[in-house]
């Protein structure tokens, strides 16, 4: 029942043969040994498996690998090319935004998506000004709302909010410098 699929995972091309029932999460973990995304529920309810697919944050347990031919997938490990931690990695460490660490790669992929979505002006349910063309400030309320798809049973939420704020401040600052 093998089906060929071509995926670019953390910058590396891979050709695999998968069962049509194989999720992207299982393809990563069981076929490629990429254990960065975690399996917490396998039903899209916890967010531990969150990865970036062509730049969008998605639950990899809800995606079938065969449907993603040619997709570029980034895991939290891939966000640290050559082992260089991203702004979010550093912020999570400094703010102690995790305890057991099992939900953390998913939180970080999700937060990467949040930073991009806010910069692109995508509103959330708590956004008061629904203008589409300008970046949305990541207030604590915005972060809490946008990060609520990623459960953390250790209860690191206040530190996760602090970490995302720290990273948002850092990326705004670096964009300012770049301009």
């Amino acid at each position: 029942m093998g089906h060929p699929v071509h995926l670019i995972i953390d910058g590396q091309p891979h050709d695999l043969t998968v069962d049509p029932r194989t999720t992207l999460l299982d393809a990563l973990r069981d076929h490629l040994g990429n254990m960065s995304p975690k399996k917490g529920c396998d039903h899209g309810q916890c967010g531990a498996c969150t990865v970036l697919v062509d730049g969008r944050r998605l639950n990899s347990c809800l995606l079938l690998a065969v449907s993603l031919d040619g997709a570029e997938v980034l895991t939290s490990d891939g966000l640290a090319p050559d082992g260089e931690p991203s702004v979010l990695h550093t912020a999570f460490l400094e703010q102690d935004a995790f305890q057991c660490g099992y939900c953390t790669p998913g939180q970080i992929c999700s937060a990467t998506g949040v930073l991009r979505e806010a910069a692109d002006g995508h509103p959330s349910v708590v956004t008061e000004d629904h203008g589409h063309d300008h970046p949305i400030e990541l207030t604590e309320d915005e972060i809490r709302e946008r990060m609520s798809g990623n459960l953390c049973r250790c209860g690191a939420y206040v530190n996760i909010v602090a970490a995302v704020r720290q990273a948002a401040g850092a990326s705004t600052a670096s964009e300012g410098t770049a301009r």
């Binding site: 460490l93 057991c100 250790c154």
Partner: protein, 690 residues
């Protein structure tokens, strides 16, 4: 009382040493250890609550491509000891609860294993079952270990003479630990040697339980668990999933078998907090002094294996009251096996006790903090021993100042803001401060680096970091010169990461080893020398009633029309002895409080009486707090050391953050609305149309 260890690395907020790997997802959890060509396991589970298996037909499953084996009670390894009803699986045809393991399929891929499990035809004969908990059930009885009842003075006369009486029943529901990492095991038999890569709060305790059952020597069983993705008690004792994987692997010698329990199966197979009912009968003088203290607590349990949730635990020592009658009972049912969940006993016990105290304060017209001051016992009412350093009142006062309690209008339903009713509440927290003897640590020196080995666990508790700090100060070297190794039975014995005893107990072993090392090898040791030390009992535990205390404050708002409850802010102050790492300690306390928010407002396993199982068995329907549920949350601690806790001066902090949190929120809900919620969790619907 011992001399305190001089703090140098201790007390500093070092970033987690395992952090850089964990944020990238590189730290290996149980499923993630590389093994060659593993087989994947999918279990067969009972769909009835009571009865026996009459036939299992695996023909169609075995015919499926990639299926290697189907294990059932008919072909599984016979265990050497079947005393433990939870772990003695696949030994006979009996069914004791819905969801019980009846077998498993082993296949080359997870997809094939799961499909094949559906193809196995299990025929079972059902018997009438009893799965519904109620405290007046005729089968309610003393726990197997004894009721440990308290009956001092003349309770009935005292309550008859009391000026104020509070007589109320409180309840807590089934609650499920739900660590984010599902319980997972890889098992492989190499000849007579079994290796388990698993997720456990104690590799050595798990080995002590499993090896005799499997009929092997402890040395033939190696358990490896360097990183644990949360546990909150559910990974404290080995559960049936670990045994199932070991039994299944026995059928395929030399091949690794992987089994990650599905989130749904976790609700039946990996432990949960049983339901409690707590009837308090409290008599007091008009000034609030408690004279009669009565508590009848009942916990649900399982016929398959007994585990009572001892809700009377905190009431034994929290408050004064000369005439006392306290009993703990249990009701075994045809349901899944309950087990430890964060602060067993204290977490639910302080729900009833601390809501009751709020009611008593109201009945006496007293501030709830003042009521607690007036009922502060001089010595432990249970044992008569002096307390070690009981600073409950300091915590309450410090918290009151930080929270802004003084301005509070005590009248319920007095504060409204734009359609929201706002209220504040307080509750005490407590947890025993004990240390377990028997852990051993080995210190070995090589080229200026001290390798410290002990089979301890880090389930998010910060052990990798904090125990490194302790080791550095024990050896009086920089933490960079410590190489800690934990989570492996190949290392010296360690007691379980449970009952908030982990760090204190393991540190006692490390301190003893450091002592021995310096005594034997001096401060300029040769390469390759080593020393071993063992944790002794803490002699202070014989003389003192050893507990930690805290105070929890909460502010909620309740939407007047819909009953929607929002937690505005929460603040806890804890007296827990010396803090080893303030960065990780704060996280642990905040995390405990967050779990308390779940207890108060979200978490409830809904049991279907027709089938005896929890129907909301996933994370979409069993709600735990999400990011948007938690707004302002602060954890503080008193700046102190507790020499009676040993040279470390520290008491455990893993559980106390959860204790009292739910009651503080329930009391705030009452203050906001005037509605007294005595059955947790409190839902908005409880506050409407009364």
């Amino acid at each position: 009382m011992s001399d305190l260890l001089r703090a140098s690395a201790i007390g500093t907020g070092r970033v987690r040493l395992d952090g850089p790997d964990k944020v990238r997802g590189l730290a290996p959890y149980a499923y993630e250890h590389p093994v060659e060509h593993p087989l994947h396991l999918f279990p067969l589970c009972s769909t009835i609550a009571l009865g026996r298996v009459t036939a299992i037909d695996a023909t169609a499953a075995l015919a499926l491509d990639g299926v290697v084996h189907v294990i059932t009670h008919e072909n599984a390894l016979r265990l050497a000891d079947t005393e433990d009803g939870e772990l003695a699986i696949l030994q006979d045809d009996r069914i004791g609860f819905r969801g019980q393991y009846l077998g498993a399929v082993l296949a080359e891929t997870p997809e094939a294993a799961r499909q094949a499990a559906d193809l196995v035809e299990v025929t079972a004969e059902g018997a009438p079952h009893d799965a519904v908990f109620r405290p007046d059930h005729p089968a309610v009885r003393e726990p197997e270990g004894g009721g440990d009842d308290i009956d001092t003075g003349d309770f009935e006369a005292a309550i008859a003479a009391a000026e104020i009486v509070v007589d109320q029943r409180y309840s807590t529901p089934l609650e499920h630990n739900n660590p984010m990492e599902p319980h997972t095991t890889i098992a492989r038999w190499d000849g007579e040697q079994l290796t388990l890569w698993t997720s456990t709060q104690g590799v050595h305790p798990a080995r002590q339980t499993l090896a005799p059952m499997l009929g092997i020597d402890p040395e033939q069983l190696r358990i490896i668990s360097p990183h644990v993705g949360g546990g909150f008690g559910s990974k404290g004792l080995p559960h049936a999933d670990m045994m199932l994987t070991a039994l299944a692997a026995h059928a395929v010698p030399g091949r690794a078998v992987k089994h990650a329990v599905t989130r749904q199966h976790m609700f039946a197979l990996t432990g949960y907090r049983p339901a409690t009912s707590q009837r308090f009968r409290i008599g007091a003088r008009a000034d609030g002094t408690i004279t009669a203290f009565g508590l009848e607590a009942v916990s649900s349990s399982s016929h398959t294996k007994e585990f009572p949730e001892v809700a009377i635990k905190p009431s034994r020592q929290m408050y004064a009251g000369e005439h006392r009658r306290i009993t703990q009972r249990v009701l075994p049912l045809d349901v899944a096996v309950p087990s430890w969940m964060r602060a067993p006993g204290e977490a639910p016990g302080m729900v009833g006790l601390e809501i009751m105290m709020d009611e008593l304060a109201e009945a006496c017209g007293l501030d709830p903090i003042e009521l607690r001051v007036r009922n502060e016992p001089e010595h432990d009412p249970d044992t008569g021993k002096p307390f070690n350093r009981r600073r409950l009142i300091d915590c309450l006062h410090e918290g009151a100042t930080r929270f802004g309690w003084a301005d509070r209008d005590p009248r319920p339903r007095a504060r409204r803001e734009g359609g929201w009713l706002i209220g504040t509440g307080v509750a005490s927290a407590t947890y025993p401060a004990s240390r377990q003897p028997g852990s051993k640590a080995r210190i070995r020196h090589e080229a200026g680096v001290y390798e410290v080995g002990i089979g301890a666990a880090d389930l998010g508790t910060g052990t990798w970091t904090a125990l490194t700090q302790v080791s550095a100060d024990a050896l009086e070297v920089d933490p960079d010169r410590i190489a800690l190794r934990i989570g492996d039975t190949a290392l010296p014995n360690a007691t379980v990461a449970g009952s908030s005893t982990g760090l204190a107990s393991w540190s006692a072993a490390v301190l003893a080893a450091a002592d021995a090392f310096r005594r034997e090898h001096g401060t300029a040791p040769a390469d390759g020398v080593e020393a071993i030390g063992e944790a002794a009992e803490n002699p202070a535990e014989k003389q003192f009633a050893m507990h930690s205390y805290g105070a929890q404050f909460a502010q909620v708002r309740v939407q007047e029309e819909t009953g929607e409850i929002r937690l505005d802010r929460m603040l806890g102050v804890f007296s827990v002895g010396r803090i080893i790492n303030p960065r990780t300690a704060r996280s642990q306390l905040l995390g405990g409080m967050t779990m308390g928010v779940g207890m108060a407002l979200h978490e409830k396993g809904e049991l279907d009486p027709r089938f005896g199982h929890v129907v909301n068995h996933d994370l979409a329907e069993y709600h735990v707090p999400v990011n948007a549920d938690i707004r302002s949350l602060e954890a503080h601690w008193l700046d102190e050391e507790d020499p009676q806790a040993g040279p470390l001066g520290a008491r455990g902090i893993g559980e106390i953050g959860t204790v009292g949190a739910a009651a503080a929120i329930a009391n705030a809900v009452h203050h906001a609305t005037g509605v007294r919620a005595r059955d947790l969790p409190v839902f908005g619907s409880d506050l409407l149309a009364r």
